[in-house]
């Protein structure tokens, strides 16, 4: 019996296969590149060689693309990433009190007490402290992102970079570069700036107690980890599967849901990898909300719709309507 967890994030799509004891058997870390459907199909193709449809007893999805992946795979649980990360963290370390999660587009902090999430926060309008900013700076400096942290560790006298805003941080960095500072000093300064930004924005007003778990793609960066430890005065624990913790949490939630319901999984099978999935979006004109609705099609069969506030597009008859009624075809913005 295997359990599938899928986390479709802005930067990466992670898929894990777990066994009954909740050990990770397989994990895929794929780049989303703005095409969640393609990436999930790609992942399924890779897993198909190893697993059978009937081996999979449940599927859970999470991440910003959780709705689309949920429809595509036939998920048993579609959960937000905060809950998924908290569940995975508690199951990795029973004494966890704080989870620091920094992903591609967002960063969060989750406070846990006695195994229950008691508070959380997420970055709001600023992307300065997230993975994609680091990605971009690594690219600009022509350093592979994997080595970014190592560079920071080499620094003896980090320079100060303004970390309040990604745009200003970048100009600050360029300015310091032009003055001839060492690259590793600049990178170390950037790591410290990011950590400061995180603690002042996301973790503002929160009390951070150990054990602190550091999750998400950015946890691979030893420079950031070091900077956090310096600021907080505590050791950060990077769990073994730090990069796929969201998917792990989703798989755990799905396992739990299935064992409660006794109905069997809704998983649509690995054949989904071969399906010709396309989305068509249109502006609904049924009421004044004028929602932008995206309809997911498998060939000519509609699988699901999202983006509508009222949920009317997900009822069966309307689904039929989309295919039968050519009137709607005209209002599709693009197909």
């Amino acid at each position: 019996m295997y359990y599938l967890g899928v986390d479709v994030g802005s930067v990466s799509t992670n898929i894990v296969v777990m066994d009954n004891e909740m050990n990770v058997l397989d994990k895929l870390y794929l780049r989303t590149k703005g095409r969640p459907i393609k990436v999930i199909q790609e992942g399924l193709k890779r897993l198909r060689t190893k697993y059978d449809d009937k081996d999979i007893s449940s599927v859970g999805t999470t991440g910003s693309g959780r709705a689309i992946s949920g429809f595509l795979l036939g998920a048993d649980v579609i959960k937000n990433e905060i809950t998924a990360h908290a569940v995975a963290a508690v199951n990795t370390d029973k004494n966890v009190r704080t989870v620091i999660e920094i992903g591609g587009q967002d960063s969060k902090i989750i406070l846990i007490n006695n195994g229950i999430a008691i508070d959380f926060a997420m970055n709001t309008v600023c992307a300065a402290g997230t993975g994609s900013f680091l990605d971009r700076q690594a690219e600009r400096l022509e350093i592979p992102i994997e080595d970014f942290g190592q560079y920071a560790l080499r620094s003896k006298t980090p320079v100060r970079i303004a970390g309040r805003c990604a745009v200003f941080a970048e100009s600050d960095m360029i300015h310091k570069q032009q003055l001839g500072y060492d690259v590793s000093d600049i990178i170390c300064g950037l790591c410290h700036a990011m950590v400061r930004n995180y603690l002042n924005n996301v973790a503002k007003g929160k009390e951070i107690f150990p054990d602190i778990l550091f999750q998400g793609g950015v946890a691979a960066n030893v420079g950031i980890k070091k900077a956090f430890e310096k600021e907080l005065g505590n050791e950060l624990i990077v769990p073994k599967h730090y990069d796929v913790m969201g998917a792990v949490g989703a798989a755990m939630l799905a396992k739990r849901a299935i064992s409660k319901k006794n109905t069997g999984t809704k998983f649509k099978g690995f054949m989904t990898a071969e399906a010709k999935i396309e989305t068509r979006s249109f502006e609904c004109s049924m009421c004044s909300n004028k929602c932008e609705v995206a309809a997911l099609f498998d060939g000519e069969n509609p699988i699901g719709c999202f983006g509508d506030k009222c949920g009317r597009w997900n009822t069966q008859e309307i689904k039929l309507n989309i295919t039968m009624n050519k009137k709607f075809e005209k209002s599709f913005l693009h197909s």
Binding site: S64, V77, K79, N80, E81, I82, T83, A86, V87, V90, D106, G115, I116, A117, I118, D119, F120, M122, T124, G205, M252, L253, A254, R256, A257, K260, C287, S288, N289, K290, K309
Partner: protein
């Protein structure tokens, strides 16, 4: 004279009924949509708060349909809302729309005579006699009160319902039926019927639903477009919801203020943390949070538009309350963003958090 007014949740329903009954020409602006926001932001100062922008959109959409007079309530307020009318009139004038603004402010501030003359300006084209007018005005306030009563009952009972989605459906049915009634007496009987019907809707009192209070700035609490329909979302999750502020509260508060008998419970509750008014509804927000905690709510969500000064002050105090009383409070700051995903994630995660605290288990799906 064709009157129009900005949208404010469902208040357009009683206003429509009132004008119908008085026989005054009016235009209800098209319900708030992305178009409204787009028009509104185009003509508003960039750093202005969200309600201002949506209201500007309402005006212009109504003007396009032929409105020439705008009725607005004012607050002479110590927050930006007090200056809304002046600035909006200025902007509309600059755009070449020369409209009449009738700003209804509390009689205590502008004087009884001034208030009366403003009300007269609105109703002077009515064919009804003077006594009829006052009678109808009084009845329309009853409509508002009953409508909010129905809504509050639905929101609170929602968590206990036996048939999922029944309460929400009844609420929408009620509003639709109200829109169809042409007379105020019919509206009153519709509301009385629904008030009874809701009490007869089956509920399971043994259930222990997640109870959430909505606090913060009044416009963002009441206008669903500005808060991404947060009430409907919470109802779909199966929560019981309480809205702190309402139109009825606002009217009663304004009416009783001269006698210093307004919002006694809120003032008393907020004493320990904020014993004075700081403008806007900052004190009410703090008071409501403490009341919700006392009434054994599981948590609260504070809503306010970006840049709302009184609520920013309240937010800091809410953090302290949250810590002191072990009472989870989440703050959502609303602005022009129409991408809902981030908000959905937060709302869902907050609901999960409350549910898990209640059950004292981490796993629950």
């Amino acid at each position: 004279m064709v009157i129009t007014f900005p949208h404010f949740g469902s208040t357009y329903i009683p206003i429509k009924i009132l004008f119908d009954e008085l026989g005054i020409e009016y235009i209800v602006p098209p319900l708030n949509s992305n178009d409204t926001l787009e028009i509104g932001t185009l003509y508003s100062p960039e750093e202005m708060c969200l309600p201002f922008k949506i209201m500007m959109g309402n005006y212009i959409q109504s003007i396009e349909e032929g409105a020439d007079t705008i009725v607005l309530v004012g607050s002479n307020g110590p927050c930006r809302f007090g200056e809304y009318c002046e600035l909006q009139k200025n902007i509309l004038d600059n755009l070449g729309y020369h409209l009449d603004f009738i700003v209804l402010e509390s009689p205590q501030v502008i004087g009884k005579e001034e208030f009366k003359s403003k009300v007269y300006k609105i109703v002077r084209h009515s064919s009804r006699s003077s006594t009829d007018r006052w009678r109808i005005l009084g009845k329309s306030i009853t409509v508002v009160r009953l409508m909010e009563q129905v809504e509050n009952k639905v929101l609170l009972r929602n968590g206990y319902e036996v048939n999922k989605g029944e309460h929400k459906r009844i609420l929408y049915q009620c509003k639709n039926e109200l829109l169809k009634t042409g007379s105020i007496d019919k509206a009153l009987s519709v509301l009385k019927y629904y008030n009874k019907r809701i009490e007869k809707t089956p509920v399971d009192l043994k259930k222990n639903p997640v109870k959430i209070a909505l606090l913060g700035e009044i416009y963002t609490i009441i206008e669903p477009f500005s808060n991404f329909n947060i009430v409907d979302k919470l109802m779909d999750f199966g929560a019981s919801v309480k809205k702190g502020l309402s139109v009825t509260w606002w009217l009663t508060d304004a009416f009783l203020r001269p006698l210093k008998l307004n919002s006694i419970n809120i003032r008393k509750a907020s004493m320990a943390y904020m014993p004075y008014y700081i403008g806007g509804h900052g004190r009410e927000c703090v008071g409501e949070a403490l009341l919700a905690n006392k009434e054994k709510f599981d948590g609260a969500i504070q809503l306010f538009p970006m840049g709302c000064m009184p609520e920013i002050v309240a937010k800091v105090i809410l953090q302290k309350i949250s810590k002191d009383r072990d009472f989870p409070i989440m703050t959502l700051i609303l602005d022009e963003m129409t991408g809902e995903a981030g908000y959905n994630t937060r709302i869902e995660a907050f609901f999960d958090l409350l549910e898990r605290r209640q059950e004292n288990v981490l796993f629950r799906c």
